[in-house]
Each structure stands twice: as structure tokens, then as C-alpha cells.
């Protein structure tokens, strides 16, 4: 889990895709159909003339410089900076979340459970499970709510249902100990590691 802005990803892809689709289609049609080609050439000429006129109108004194070209340069640089900034949204900004029970409910004080404690408790408990090759626990903040993510790599052929049920019981236990039932999300993976490790034992 990370904070990648997926709406932004898809919007950018959609806009760029539409521009390429329309531009490429228009160019292909203009090259293939002479009538369309004439429209392409004449409108392109008009656009170029407009650009030239803008350049001439904003010329600075007698120099070759013009504000229009300077503006276009600035726009190109700003676009590059904005694009670069949007790339940084891809980088995971996972915050280490501290899980805590609400302090007001316990007269003795407040219980704070760190992510590390929850992770160790769940990991140790899962280590004894046959179908589990490895497990990791991370805490995330989703819409200002803490969510525990239990990621389990299952052995090949292991029953994922029993793995999920076991994790569910472990989480119940953690909730009972800490007094806070944190939202939890369980993911069971396979992949190369489970393929290379020995199979789940068939005899219990």
C-alpha cells in the first residue's frame, strides 16, 4: 500500500493517449487523403503565421529576442518541473503508524502499541504454521485510519483458507491483548520463493 494517486496516473495516460490518437490519426489521414492534407497544410500555415506574428509583436527592441519565445521557454521548463513533481507522487510515502487504544477509555492510562510489536507478535505466531513460508506486518494510514497489512508468503500447495483463518485468529488475539480492534488486511502471495521452498507437509 502506498499513496500513489491513481486518478492522476490514469488521467495523464488518458490525456496523452487521446492527444496521440487524434494527432496520429489526423496526420495519417492528411497524408493519405489529399483533401484532408490541404486542410492540414493551410491550417498549419495559419498557425505558424500566428506564431510568427506573436514573435514579431513581442520583439524586444532591435534584438532577436522576443517575449513570446522567452514565454514558451519558461512554459517548457515549468512543464518539465510539474511532470517531475508528479513523478514523486509515485514514490511510496508510507508513514510508520503507531497503533494506540483510545486513552480516555482506560483510567490507568493509555496503551500504545508500536508497529514493531504487532509485527513481532503476528510473525512469531505465524512461524509455527506449516503453510506459511514467511510473513510481514506493516501499518499504514488510509484515510486517517490505521490499517494493519499482514503479508503472507504461502508454501506451494498450502491451503490459503487455513492460512487466512489462522491470521484472522491471530489478529483477534492481538485485538484482545491491545484492546483495540485495528482494521486488518491480509494478503497471501506465492511466487518464486514459495516455488523454491519445500512443499507444505502432507502429513500433520
Amino acid at each position: 500500500m502506498n499513496d500513489t494517486n491513481r486518478g492522476l496516473n490514469r488521467t495523464v495516460l488518458l490525456i496523452v493517449g487521446l492527444v496521440l490518437l487524434v494527432g496520429g490519426g489526423a496526420a495519417a489521414t492528411a497524408a493519405a487523403v489529399p483533401a484532408v492534407g490541404d486542410v492540414w497544410t493551410s491550417s498549419g500555415k495559419a498557425a505558424l503565421d500566428a506564431l510568427r506574428a506573436a514573435g514579431d509583436a513581442t520583439r524586444i527592441g532591435d534584438t532577436a529576442l522576443s517575449w513570446a519565445v522567452i514565454g514558451a521557454t519558461a512554459v517548457a521548463i515549468v512543464v518539465a518541473v510539474i511532470l517531475f513533481a508528479s513523478l514523486t507522487t509515485l514514490v511510496s510515502r508510507r508513514s510508520r503508524t503507531v497503533l494506540r487504544s483510545s486513552g480516555s477509555q482506560t483510567p490507568l492510562g493509555r496503551v500504545t502499541v508500536t508497529e514493531g510489536f504487532a509485527a513481532d507478535a503476528v510473525k512469531n505466531s505465524l512461524a509455527r504454521q506449516d503453510g506459511v513460508l514467511s510473513a510481514s506486518v506493516t501499518a499504514h494510514t488510509v484515510r486517517d485510519e490505521p490499517v494493519l497489512h499482514v503479508s503472507v508468503t504461502a508454501r506451494q500447495g498450502a491451503d490459503p483458507r487455513s492460512v487466512v483463518d489462522h491470521v484472522d485468529r491471530v489478529m483477534d488475539g492481538l485485538a484482545a491483548v491491545t484492546g483495540a480492534d485495528t482494521a486488518a488486511y491480509i494478503s497471501v502471495h506465492g511466487g518464486l520463493r514459495s516455488r523454491l521452498a519445500s512443499d507444505a507437509p502432507r502429513v500433520s
Binding site: 488518458l14 521557454t73 498450502a158 494478503s187
Partner: protein, 194 residues
């Protein structure tokens, strides 16, 4: 307790963020924007251009129908359009990852299709006595394919395998129902050799 928060988590975990395509497009955009900026600055300073002056490039583009060979212009345009169509499809399609959500009481659980398939194959192999490498299971978003290749002369009841697979799938408690298809494959060469 499938709260909106957990629903959001499941949605994010089972659908592609399209980050790779986005990163590629944005990187190309950055390179293009910086290149344009460099060419404009060179043009402002009246220096020779790196490749082409921006104005001449636009001029060439405006005269494309007469400047380039028809076949090349059409091909280039179609390639750009196809690329654009592919990006639009990427943007609009759901991009489902090969994972299944399963019911997990108050929590949510997502299992890779590969894990489901290998568990299913193991179970079919255990129950029917057919060697594990002769059972192939494919788990897709809406269907499960079980292919069994029993050795020559080994009897196997297709309905029995179907019932077995369906019972196992039911016990997994998938959030989305799947169709089960069982095939028993027998190779002629094996039968003749036996």
C-alpha cells in the same frame, strides 16, 4: 466490518495503479519539455541548434503531407494513433490484478491466483491419487480450469473431480463466484504404449 477504508484497500490491492506506464509517459514528457526548452534557449541566443530549430520543426510538421513520403507519413501517424489508443485503453480499463478477494470475517483478505491454483491442484492430487505434476489448475478472475492427465489405463471420473474442485473452491469462500471447468486429457501415445 468491511468498512469503506478496507474496501478502498482491497480495491487498491486488486487493481493495477498503472504506475509503470505513467512513469514512462511522464519521463518522456520531461525529456521532451527539456529538449524544447534547450532548443528555444539556443534559438534565443542565436546559437546553432542541437538538432532542429523549433520553428523549422513546426514548419516541417505543417507541411507533412507534401514533405514526407505518403507511406512513411501514414505509417508514422498510425503508429502514434495506435500508441495513443493503447494508452487510452490502459487509462480506462480496470487493470485487474490476478488476485481473488476471499471472505475473512471482519477483515479482508486477498489471495494470489497462483496460490489458489497450487492449493487446488494439490488437493485434487491428494484426493484422486493422481501425481501432482499431472494436475494443472488455472485460476482466472471468473473461472477455474482444472486439467487432469491420468496415466494410461487409470480410470478417473470427471464428475468426481468436478465435485471435488467445486467443494474445494466453496471452502475457499471467494468473494466473487467462479465457474469451474474440468478436463480429463488422455494422450493417444500413452494409451498405445500401455
Amino acid at each position: 466490518m468491511t468498512t469503506p477504508v478496507l474496501r478502498r484497500v482491497v480495491r487498491r490491492e486488486t487493481h493495477s495503479p498503472r504506475s509503470v506506464a505513467f512513469a514512462l509517459v511522464v519521463l518522456l514528457g520531461i525529456v521532451l519539455a527539456l529538449y524544447v526548452a534547450v532548443e528555444l534557449i539556443l534559438a534565443l541566443a542565436s546559437q546553432p541548434s542541437l538538432l532542429v530549430r523549433p520553428m523549422s520543426a513546426l514548419q516541417w510538421l505543417a507541411g507533412l503531407p507534401s514533405n514526407a513520403p505518403v507511406a512513411a507519413a501514414v505509417a508514422g501517424g498510425l503508429i502514434a494513433a495506435a500508441l495513443g489508443l493503447w494508452l487510452v485503453v490502459l487509462a480506462v480499463s480496470p487493470g485487474r490484478l490476478s488476485k481473488h478477494e476471499v471472505d475473512a470475517g471482519g477483515r479482508v483478505a486477498v489471495i494470489d491466483n497462483g496460490v489458489l491454483a497450487s492449493a487446488l491442484a494439490q488437493r485434487v492430487s491428494d484426493e484422486t491419487g493422481i501425481a501432482r505434476d499431472r494436475v494443472t489448475v488455472g485460476v482466472a478472475h471468473r473461472s477455474v480450469d482444472v486439467t487432469v492427465r491420468p496415466g494410461a489405463g487409470i480410470p478417473i471420473d470427471e464428475t468426481e473431480v468436478t465435485a471435488l474442485a467445486e467443494a474445494e473452491i466453496a471452502s475457499l469462500k471467494l468473494a466473487r463466484p467462479v465457474r469451474t471447468r474440468v478436463r480429463v486429457e488422455r494422450h493417444d501415445e500413452e494409451e498405445k504404449a500401455a
